[in-house]
Amino acid sequence: MSNTDNQGGVWEVFIQSKPGLPHKHAGSVHATDKEMALQNARDMYTRRQEGTCLWVVPLEAIVSSMPDDNDSFFDPSDDKIYRHPTHYVMPDGAKHI
């Protein structure tokens, strides 16, 4: 094989393990187009009954936050425990919550 990269683009693979559950990231495959990406994902990740649905997403379509964003994106929630429902004490009489 030549040194030029002709494997196609990178596609991220998401698998839904059971109907109703969210698709989880499983890994990535190389492919030249949608159909091939789906086939390659099937061959790489679903041979052992891992799932009921497959998504493939071109890498370029995924926008990721950068490590530099961490301070402003994630840290402000550190000291705000009242944002978690467990922070609140439920009154004894409250039902169906």
Partner: protein, 252 residues
């Protein structure tokens, strides 16, 4: 010929074709054009070898002489194999493999669709199980045929040549003899002239999508029914049987 004898032969035809095509696909292991394709082809090899196990085991049971799937796979000689001539074609370049697998998968696809209704329960169950795998094999090879055919000028010309080269071995897929005649009467086997019609439709459709030309009708090689093979099968089984021949009865 008894129905039992005919059925044993029929199982060997199915089992051997899967086995030999599976062995061919396994030759791609570690040699695929990219990692994903390497794994895809090895998966297909495993599917096919799995299919052959069912049929060879069943043949042994019908025969009643205590032969196992391994005895059939590893201890028969070239002139005792009933696989299709197409299945033994060498892998060649990737386009050759795609063309061969496409033509063969389309055959298995329509054959197994029909055999799901076989009156022999084992054959019917085998077909119902295998069709899921074969559906994928057909999809995989069809999509590649389309991409190579409708790709660059070079890939188009190469895969057209692959199709042309494989064509003379497609007639053999549909040959029938007294085994078929007897088993069709019993509702066990299917008439391959009917399968050929379906095969033609599928093949024409995909060839058109791939912007390729259906090869012109030509002289067709035959041999499968009489276990007569091309020069390639001997080499293939020499490699496949090496371990059992060199170390008889070797176990894991």
């Amino acid at each position: 010929m008894t129905t039992n004898e005919a059925l044993i032969n029929y199982c060997l035809r199915l089992g051997d074709s899967s086995l030999i095509l599976g062995q061919r696909m396994s030759e791609w292991c570690s040699n695929g054009p990219i990692l994903e394709e390497d794994i895809a082809m090895t998966n297909i090899a495993l599917d096919l070898i799995g299919q052959s196990r069912t049929m060879l085991t069943y043949a042994g049971k019908l025969e009643g002489k205590g032969r196992t799937e391994d005895d059939f796979a590893y201890k028969r000689e070239e002139r005792e194999f009933y696989n299709t001539l197409l299945s033994e074609r060498p892998n060649g370049h990737f386009g050759d493999t795609v063309a061969r697998n496409f033509l063969h998968s389309a055959f298995f696809y329509h054959l197994f669709q029909a055999l799901k209704n076989s009156k022999d329960e084992m054959i019917a169950a085998h077909a119902a199980k295998s069709i899921k795998e074969v559906t994928y094999h057909l999809r995989h090879s069809s999509e590649w045929l389309v991409r190579l055919g409708d790709g660059t000028e070079e890939s188009h010309n190469k895969v057209q040549e692959s199709l042309n080269d494989m064509w003379e071995f497609t007639g053999d897929l549909f040959e029938m003899n007294e085994v078929d005649e007897l088993l069709i009467k019993e509702g066990i086997a299917v008439d391959l002239t009917e399968i050929k019609k379906e095969w033609d439709k599928t093949v024409n459709q995909v060839i058109e999508r791939a912007t390729l030309n259906r090869p012109e009708e030509c002289y067709m090689q035959t041999g499968r029914l009489n276990a007569i093979h091309s020069e390639y099968l001997g080499h293939l089984i020499a490699e496949m049987q090496f371990l059992q021949r060199a170390y008889p009865e070797a176990q894991w």
